[in-house]
Amino acid sequence: MKILVPIKRVIDYNVRVRVKADSSGVELANIKMSVNPFDEIAIEEAVRLKESGKATEIIAVTIGPDKAQEQLRTAMAIGADRGILVKTDAPIDLGGVEPLAVARTLKALVEREKPDLVIMGKQSIDDDSGQTGQMLAALLGWPQGTFASKLEVNDGKVTVTREVDGGLETLTLTLPALITTDLRLNEPRYAKLPDIMKAKKKELEITDPSALGVDYTPRLQVLKVSTPPERKGGGRVSSVDELIDKLKNEAKVI
């Protein structure tokens, strides 16, 4: 079984994001970038499937600038067998390479690589669109299991436990299928030194959108990006009764 894992280069989750002075987006220059945390979980899951003998090959894919090779190397250090960079200098964001464009790119690669399973993050922590996985599944006409917190592959089927609002839902999908990962699926490992060194020798293909026949012209226009209004300090209540009273009469939510 072949697994394709799309990953994204995003601002590191430790960085305090700042909006650009002209409100056109967020400050990206000289900011620490990392693999999107949900995508790390996707890589980890794919590597575990390979280690348990269920998968034979893992391909990490990213769309981004030349520097995104670093994130592919990270994926390969954790266990991806090879990497593909679809190179573009457009921001991978609303008003740049949008979720649908990403999904189309991935569709082209899926058709070329013919994986049995695509595992990807449920959303990226930069623009938080949370759409790409669903769009890709629809474009491919594949079954999808989103927000996975548990995954089992057996006899051409994948059983997914999903985190939904009311609790957990379990689905069985027939391969090929698409999974998006939630936080509790696994805890990604630290890359090992020998694997980091080996990753340097793994194959990394660089291609571009036109070679895959996709067009990145944005369909959305970003009018303004601003920081959320500062939260006002909360108050303390002295009893449950007071809390209920406030919820009823002040907030009017119950």
């Binding site: 430790n14 220059a29 000289n30 620490k32 670093e70 190397r73 990270t74 250090a77 630290y190 890359a191 090992k192 030194l193 020998p194 980091i196 060194m197 990753a199 340097k200």
Partner: protein, 596 residues
């Protein structure tokens, strides 16, 4: 709770922009090394440091190590979480990062190991002791052991399933190793029976590894008196052939000021089975090979603590609101201004910054010279690099550990009373940093090494290895308008260093007391000039990048500003040290013991 994030931007600046460390890939054995690989390794390494090791630093200090009495044999329990953290560290291959690949190591350049050590010490200095000593043992066995010993011990040490110690100190002998009493008696099977008591042995007993390999200094029966009669032995806790227990036992552990999660043990050897490493009576030479590495490692402890202390002092100074700026409120909407507006607080933060960033460049440069000294195909180039490392080792060890303590203390000062109490975790840095000034040769001994051994070596050859490039730098950049305020102070301080060097060389040759009396001040003066040179080099690169419009302008501008601060407010200390060094021994030696 203190914070730490690895200063990867500054590390990359030093490695790539200032030192061009990727040039090491031209050396045999480092062909695979590249800037990308360095970045990737340090990035992943920093995650383990900041996430795994750092989170155990405070709890490790509070819990400390505990001596347990099991089945008649004592054992030491490290603080909660240390074993799991060690397993993660070891499984990641980090123990053997700079070890020879022929024996299971990763064979990465020392300059990368140097950066890794800095991050480990910032995150958890106590933890760093365990793999640090193993690496020292690896190097000593690698250099002086015979092939049979190497095959048995090196792969296990590189992998980190066994750990190492160095057993020099005894109750009656600390600095003066000539007083060692531990005895080694040859046995029929070629091994030795080693008997004696060692004290203060770091990592002497613990629960992190399957075996502990002690490198023990002891005397053979026919040994001459003093340091010329010391031999080096390898004494494993468990004998490698059948893993049976050897007669080497931890008698007690010390309760101490800092690095509480690192065990400091009394080690009793009772006819323990050992094997000779290197030649009889030449043990000190072998141990010194290990100690030179270890001294650079201790220098990184000074830098590592300074870095984490600096980060916390800075963060606190931006947050803590007290009083208004002298020239009027900077944040009128707040009840008071953050203390970073006050000149004296800025002074403390900038001294911390000026030291850590300067010392980072200095340490990594020496890490790189160490690589060249080991791997360069040309013998003269190797020798030149070896000379630089030998000369700078005592300077780095003493200066960086003195400053590690200084910066930790400045951080407590920035925190005020909140630094003195335990809650914020910065007083721990003062306690942890303190030992680095003492072990691996107390700092006074480093100063003696500099003036007594390194200075006269090869009729000043080692000194010239430093003086010539500095001279050249001054000549090449002295005309550069943009660098005037950096190169000029360097040139002045450098000429004074040449003066005090000449004085000590002359007077010291006649009267060693004169050299001894000048040594500590001279070492500090030397260190400040070395740091000034580093700041000039960093300033030059920053200036070039700004002129070319490359990279992060704000980063480079901050570099230039910090360089100027160093020249104006830290380098002048070299003048007073110069005066003290030149004052001679008379006033220091004239009081009789009764007159004190």
């Amino acid at each position: 709770m203190p914070v730490y994030s690895a200063p990867l931007d500054d590390i990359r600046f030093v490695l790539h922009d200032v030192l061009g460390a990727e040039s090491l890939s031209a050396l045999p054995g480092y062909e695979e090394f590249s800037a990308d690989l360095a970045d990737q390794i340090l990035e992943e390494g920093s995650k383990i440091c900041a996430e795994v090791l750092f989170s155990l630093n405070q709890s490790g200090d509070q819990e400390g190590c505990v001596l347990e009495n099991g089945d008649g044999l004592t054992s030491v329990r490290t603080p909660a979480g240390f074993k799991t953290a060690y397993d993660t560290f070891r499984d990641g291959g980090w123990c053997g990062i700079a070890c020879d690949p022929a024996y299971g190591g990763m064979g990465m350049p020392h300059v990368i190991n140097t950066a890794m050590k800095e991050m480990i010490c910032s995150a958890n200095m106590s933890f760093g002791m365990y793999p640090g000593l193993s690496y020292g043992a690896f190097e000593a066995i690698h250099k002086f052991g015979d092939e049979a010993l190497k095959t048995i011990y090196l792969p296990k040490l590189a992998e980190g399933v066994w750990s190492g110690t160095m057993c020099l100190t005894e109750p009656q002998c600390g600095t003066d190793l000539g007083l060692i009493k531990t005895r080694a008696v040859p046995q029929d099977d070629g091994s030795y029976a080693v008997t004696g008591t060692k004290i203060f042995i770091s990592a002497g007993e613990h629960d992190l590894t399957e075996n502990i390999i002690h490198l023990v200094l002891a005397r053979l029966p026919d040994a001459p008196e003093g340091v010329k009669g010391i031999s080096l032995f390898i004494v494993p806790k468990f004998l490698p052939d059948d893993m049976s227990r050897n007669a080497v036992v931890c008698g007690a552990i010390e309760h101490k000021m800092g690095i509480k999660a690192s065990s400091t043990c009394v080690i009793n050897l009772d006819e323990a089975k050992g094997w000779l490493i290197g030649e009889p009576h030449k043990g000190l030479r072998a141990m010194f090979a290990m100690m030179n590495d270890a001294r650079l490692g201790v220098a990184m402890q000074g830098l590592g603590i300074a870095e984490v202390a600096y980060q916390n002092g800075l963060a606190y100074a931006k947050e803590r609101l007290q009083m208004r700026a002298l020239d009027g409120a900077k944040f009128p909407d707040k009840p008071a201004d953050p203390i970073i507006v006050h000149p004296d607080v800025r002074r403390m933060i900038l001294i911390s910054k000026g030291f850590t960033e300067g010392a980072r460049a200095l340490s990594y440069w020496i890490g790189m010279e160490l690589d060249i000294s080991l791997k360069h195909p040309d013998a003269d180039t190797r020798q030149a690099a070896d000379d630089i490392v030998a000369l700078m080792t005592p300077i780095l060890k003493a200066y960086q550990t003195d400053m590690g303590s200084e910066v930790a203390n400045l951080t407590v000062q920035i925190y005020g009373g909140h630094g003195y109490i335990q809650e914020h975790g910065v007083e721990q840095y003062v306690r942890d940093a303190r030992i680095a000034q003492i072990y691996e040769g107390a700092n006074g001994i480093q100063a003696l090494d500099l003036v007594g051994r390194k200075m006269p070596q090869g009729y000043g050859r080692l000194l010239r290895r430093f003086f010539h490039p500095v001279q050249r730098f001054i000549e090449e950049n002295g005309e550069d308008e943009a660098l005037q305020d950096l190169v000029f102070p360097l040139a002045r301080a450098f000429s004074k260093l040449q003066q005090s060097t000449a004085m000590i060389a002359q007077k010291g040759l006649k009267d060693p007391v004169e050299a001894g009396a000048a040594s500590s001040d001279y070492l500090r003066q030397f260190a400040l000039v070395a740091l000034a040179w580093m700041w000039c080099r960093m300033g030059r690169v920053a200036q070039e990048r700004i002129s070319a419009g490359q990279g992060d302008k704000a980063f480079y501008e901050a570099k230039l500003k910090t360089a100027r601060f160093f020249m104006q407010r830290m380098l002048p200390e070299a003048d007073s040290r110069f005066k003290m060094a030149m004052a001679g021994a008379e006033s220091l030696m004239s009081l009789s013991a009764e007159e004190f």
